[in-house]
């Protein structure tokens, strides 16, 4: 069993709304309140309005072991940042506790304390000190930090002359060299160009393999599924899911339960979507061994099974699936009229099952939502259709054997096929 690095128990934070903060008021207000105190003690004067309170974080408990990279996901206002602020010590919890084993560093922002008037070199030292690094540590890593940032030529130029990209690169370069046993990271990857993001992700992955515990808040679900073995889903300040990253991400994106999304069944024909020709009976996402697969490895094939009641075989209805990514972009449509069985003639009355086989190393990572339909041709008629019938998450855990090779940054594209490349001999004029 790995050693525990961070234990959070019943952690909660309460804020007061309205009068009494947060926010600052003027001294005059405070003096006025003070002046009203005697009348309040005597039970007279304006009744004091009880300040409204709310809990951005409540009853949060979890544990992180050394070597774990845990993603924290949730909508805006779910409590992610509050959690990190409490753990980093920036703000106090109202209840509960957290225990920390080992040194802890927090990156709630990159470039904290950077000053435009100071040179790059000076900012590196200042920022390092603010993040808790020793001067000797910064000195020894200085060259590495500068070369990581890629702005060697401008290191002695005041930061005010930097482009925003250079500024962020240097800031992240310092942060990336923070070597604490526990690392808290908040949304810092939302900055910089794609090339630099890749470098940052690589650096973070290294962090995870060095026996460190990382708590990583992000809105980038692809990054969470790739970097984190586990994820915690916060909703309205509470932990609503804690488990394998892909499943939690799926639950977050889909908003539903973690297990039901891969399989959808309509056991009663009268409630099933469809008409007098065809009605959907089931849609399932299955892995290669036939088990429901809410999560699938990008390298493995996946099957989508459509089962329907064939009520009028003369129409020769065909099952088809439309796959969408989480941006609502249609990846492709596939129909079983290309199959030999369909071509052979009308299928018998009763339950028909069609299976669409999607090869491994074809889909891109992320959430895939499936629209299932049953249609007939050539006068195109949709007999049954269900949007978001099932959904699954494609997770890229490839280690050089996938389409991404050894590249670790975000890869654009609706699909991520592993295509054949040939290298013709140039002498033969290929």
């Amino acid at each position: 069993m790995a050693q525990v690095a961070l234990r959070v128990q019943n952690l909660g934070k309460q804020y007061r709304l309205g009068s009494g903060g947060p926010g600052y008021d003027t001294l005059a207000d405070a003096l006025l309140r003070l002046a009203r105190l005697p009348s309040r003690w005597m039970g007279r004067g304006a009744p004091s309005t009880a300040p409204k309170t709310f809990w951005p974080l409540r009853s949060v408990s979890f544990e992180v072991s050394a070597g774990d990279v845990v993603g924290v996901v949730g909508r805006n206002g779910a409590g992610k940042s509050t959690l990190l602020k409490i753990l980093s010590g920036v703000t106090d919890p109202t209840e509960g506790w957290a225990a920390v084993w080992g040194t802890m560093g927090a990156l709630l922002e990159v470039g904290t304390g950077f000053h435009p008037e100071l040179t790059g070199r000076e900012n590196v030292f200042l920022n390092g000190a603010i993040l808790g690094m020793k001067r000797a540590e910064v000195t020894s890593k200085f060259d590495e930090i500068v070369s990581f940032s890629g702005i060697e030529r401008f290191i002695d130029t005041p930061a005010k002359h930097y482009s925003s990209g250079m500024y962020m690169r240097l800031a992240f370069a310092v942060a990336a060299h923070l070597e604490t046993r526990i690392l808290l990271v908040d949304e810092v990857l939302a900055v910089g160009d794609a090339e630099f993001q890749r470098k940052c992700l690589q650096k973070m992955e290294q962090v995870g393999t060095q026996g460190r515990a990382v708590l990583f808040v992000s809105h980038d679900m692809a990054a969470v599924t790739r970097l984190c073995s586990r994820a915690i889903l916060l909703d309205q300040g509470r932990v609503v899911a804690d488990g394998p990253a892909a499943g939690v991400v799926h639950q977050y994106l889909h908003g539903g339960s973690m297990h039901g999304a891969a399989v959808r069944e309509w056991p009663r024909i009268e409630e099933a979507p469809g008409d007098r020709v065809a009605r959907l009976r089931a849609v399932r996402v299955l892995d290669e061994s036939g088990r429901p697969a809410p999560e699938i490895d990008i390298r493995r094939p996946v099957r989508i099974e459509v089962e329907f009641w064939n009520l009028d075989p003369t129409f020769r209805p065909a099952a088809n699936v439309h796959l969408y990514n989480d941006q609502g972009q249609c990846l492709f449509v596939s129909c079983d009229f290309t199959s030999a069985v369909w071509k052979a003639g009308p299928r018998p009355h009763g339950i028909v099952r069609s299976v669409c086989h999607i090869p491994g190393n074809f889909l891109s990572e992320g959430l895939v939502s499936v629209l299932a339909a049953v249609s007939s041709f050539p006068r195109t008629t949709v007999h049954a259709m269900e949007r978001d019938a099932v959904a699954f998450v494609v997770v890229d855990h490839s280690e050089g054997d996938g389409a991404r090779g050894s590249f670790s940054g975000p890869i654009p594209g609706a699909v991520r096929p592993m295509l054949e490349w040939t290298l013709p001999d140039p002498e033969q004029g290929g």
Binding site: M1, V4, A98
Partner: protein, 285 residues
Amino acid sequence: MSAATAVEPLPEPPATRIIRPTSGWAPLDLSQLWIHRELVFFMAWRDIQLRYRQTLLGVGWAVLQPLATTVIFAVFFGRLAKISSDGLPYPVFALTGLVPWQLFAYALLQSSNSLVDNQNILRKVYFPRIIVPLASMGAGVIDFAVSFVILLGFMAWYQIAPSPRVLLLPFLLFLALVTAFGIGLWLATLNVRYRDIRYTVPFLSQLWLFATPVAYPASIVPERYRIWLGLNPMAGVIEGFRWALLGSGTVSLSVIATSTAVSAALLVSGLYYFKRMERGFADVI
């Protein structure tokens, strides 16, 4: 219970840090300050860099301010109002008071505004908050060093040799800084919540200047009231400064002792108040 829980868990090492709600008056933990001493240095160094880089005159300000004030004081208080200067040339007399005063005023102003000025950092990174007001006084010490050299130049010009009592100067300087820091802690904390403080400090500092024997000697205060002068720690510092450097006046030990006690009380109360309020800074600032 299931079999899994029957397995004896490995003994756990004690946690490095426990994060829990704190309430009421917490004990001071100054060891944290020592652990983060490099940050104190870096933040002070940053302020010094910025102070001398962003301004046109740079170090000139450290020279110009006490010099200009000395000229005005010399003309109006020395020449026209003919205020006693304990038998010393008035310009030296005034400058000797102004140089430590300037250190105090700068340290007070900077430390009072320090938390608000660094709010972006306070919201994003944790370190002992006390570092911020402490480091903010650093640039004042550099200014002091520069203006002190000017003061020595004045003394040479008027052929006043320092007595061996100058060895007391570091203590007096320390007293001025402790006083500024003690009040600075109170004001910086209040400033987080009440932004009026920013406008109050220059005003307070001006009133305090006239209540302190900078432009006039303590000797013009009637003898029987003079002991109360020590309640103003800066009165003790300035008079002590003149006494140690120029050999003027009659500084009584009781005045210095009272000043030290008041200053220490300000520091300790400031530290506890700061400690009590610091956990809420990030939420309110």
